[in-house]
């Protein structure tokens, strides 16, 4: 009954795919070229694979520092968002009443707001956390919170409250109920929010650009941008920097693709 994919379609799609893949090819090939070869920006193979480029960039590009900062900022932001968001989501999803509606709408308000550059700067200064990773973590977490609370609460509403009642009859307290009964049931939406928050935070450029003033605290996107500024003539090195930056993400994406795609899209559909 089902028709096979038609070859003309495959051909056209393959051509379109090249629009996506060529930039990647240019980058990967370029990263193995000499300076002179790399600035020709073409799809030729390097004369000789210059592995030394990688050594040079890892030594001089502050890649490790960037990675450590990115991992720290992303992990902390994600933990805050997941734990705080889940607790608030449970409250909003399980209780009814005026106060709950107010809290919910108050969070929803934040879905569309944009970063207030100058006053956020003033706020961080007055809290004495300007230029710290903590400041960046808290801003990221705050901006991600509305989406998380919304998705958690709508998920919780879909879970029958009988399981809570059964647990309460068995003598579960609030916290025990939340951590032993509800959180395990919420695993799918946890994964969604984990992915969305982690990717958003990992790729965020604005917040650290505005609020981190010293290079040793920069996450990887800022390291890349700064490296590009310093080595604008050495495209081979810049390409290496780009490859190093996206390699772990691409590997993760290829392995966890199903979860990532489902997470990112299902998350937004529920919005």
């Amino acid at each position: 009954m089902k028709k096979k994919n038609n070859p003309v379609k495959i051909l056209i799609l393959t051509v379109v795919s090249f629009v996506y893949l060529i930039p990647i090819f240019v980058m990967v090939l370029g990263s193995f070229k000499t300076k002179g070869e790399a600035v020709r920006f073409d799809l030729s193979l390097p004369e000789k694979f210059q592995w030394a480029n990688y050594e040079y960039v890892i030594e001089n590009g502050h890649v490790i520092t960037g990675y450590m900062n990115s991992i720290l900022i992303t992990t902390a932001t994600t933990l805050i968002v997941l734990i705080f968001g889940a607790l608030a989501g449970i409250y909003v999803g399980r209780r009814k009443g005026k106060l709950v509606d107010t809290v919910y709408n108050y969070f929803i308000l934040g879905l569309t707001v944009s970063l207030q550059l100058a006053t956020t700067f003033a706020l961080l200064k007055s809290l004495n956390i300007y230029g710290t990773r903590l400041g960046v973590i808290l801003i990221n977490a705050g901006m991600q919170m509305p989406f998380t609370v919304m998705t958690f609460s709508s998920f919780i509403k879909g879970i029958p409250s009988e399981i809570d009642e059964a647990a309460i009859i068995d003598g579960c307290g609030s916290l025990k109920l939340i951590f032993w009964v509800l959180l395990p049931v919420m695993k799918p939406i946890m994964v969604t929010n984990l992915i969305v928050t982690a990717i958003n935070t990992w790729n965020n450029f604005m917040v650290p650009l505005f609020y981190l003033d010293s290079a040793e605290k920069w996450p990887i996107p800022l390291m890349v941008y700064n490296f590009f500024g310093r080595y604008a003539r050495n495209w081979n090195y810049v390409f290496v920097m780009l490859v190093i930056t996206i390699l772990p993400i691409v590997i993760l994406y290829l392995c966890l693709q199903k979860y990532i795609v489902e997470g990112m899209t299902s998350g937004s559909v529920k919005g």
């Binding site: 608030a88 006053t119 998380t148």
Partner: protein
């Protein structure tokens, strides 16, 4: 006590208000407070020299901003960028989804490729594209190979082409995301609608306009709202491709706020941020309202 009242009080005890306090505090302090401060401080003469001592100045910051021709340009560019990227992302996403929504092996490979840019950082994409669009970059090289030397130009050197390219890159990046939203919309449409239409002799175009499109309105709503809000808030791609947002003619609202901030005009920067926030809320609300009215039940 009635049964309902017992249940309410059990809920009250089991899910106390304090559960929401951690999230509420982080969100309030780091998102809501800065907005409140912007609202207040944009009506003062706050600047880097009057850091601790802003004086009420009425609408002066707004007047200052609105008088500034760069601001007008920024508003224009913001809307141009947001509207064109929204149309392109939805158009491309829809075409890709229609071609790829059936689950063939080959289709899933293509979907993987088209979605890939969505997980990458805009910084990487931006730097990568400066190499493609440079004077001696890949694009000009390809044009050279094709014998189209008259088409070569310094793509990021003038307003029209650089604006066109940031719009293309942004759409290229997020078309795959829109595609997946449309695919999940398409998969939700019951097959028998089409079978019934076929037996009654409806052409495939007619099926598309009478069945597919109306039932895809919810997916279009999601995509349009997200695209327009994201497009209006654009910062990274402009900042990176336009060398730190130095040139004034490709400025958008976020880069405008950044520029006034970095020269110390904090009141003007806050005014620009607030204007952007209000515009985004307004536009997403209107768009949502417009599309929600057109949604039909499956």
């Amino acid at each position: 006590m009635s049964k309902k009242a017992i249940k309410m009080s059990a809920q009250h005890k089991t899910y106390p208000f304090w559960l929401s306090i951690p999230a509420l505090s982080v969100y309030t302090i780091f998102v809501i407070v800065p907005i409140g401060m912007s609202l207040v401080l944009s009506f003062t003469d706050w600047n880097i020299r009057r850091w601790d001592d802003p004086k009420f100045a009425g609408l002066q910051a707004f007047k200052e901003v609105i008088k500034d021709p760069d601001f007008g340009r920024a508003v224009f560019n913001t809307f141009l960028f947001a509207v064109l990227t929204t149309i392109l992302k939805i158009g491309l996403g829809l075409i890709l989804a229609l071609v790829l929504y059936k689950s063939f092996k080959a289709n899933s490979i293509f979907r993987t490729i088209f979605y890939l840019p969505c997980v990458l950082s805009m910084t990487v994409i931006g730097v990568l594209f400066t190499s493609i669009l440079a004077k001696n970059g890949l694009l000009n090289n390809i044009l050279n190979l094709l014998g189209l030397t008259t088409w070569q130009r310094e793509w990021l050197g003038q307003y029209t082409t650089s604006m066109a390219w940031v719009i293309i890159i942004e759409s290229w990046m997020w078309a795959g995301f829109n595609m997946f939203i449309f695919i999940s919309g398409l998969q939700a449409i019951p097959r028998d609608y089409y079978e019934a239409a076929s037996t009654e002799g409806a052409s495939s175009w007619k099926q598309f306009t009478k069945i597919t499109l109306p039932l895809l309105v919810p997916a279009i709503t999601v995509n349009a709202t997200m695209n327009i809000a994201g497009g209006m808030k654009v910062f990274d791609i402009i900042y990176i491709l336009m060398k730190g947002g130095q040139s004034t003619d490709t400025q958008v609202l976020s880069t405008y706020a950044f520029k006034s901030f970095s020269v110390g005009y904090l009141g003007e920067s806050s005014a620009a941020s607030i204007i952007l926030t209000v515009l985004v809320i307004l536009v997403s609300f209107l768009l949502n309202y417009f599309f929600r009215k057109r949604e039909v039940e499956v």
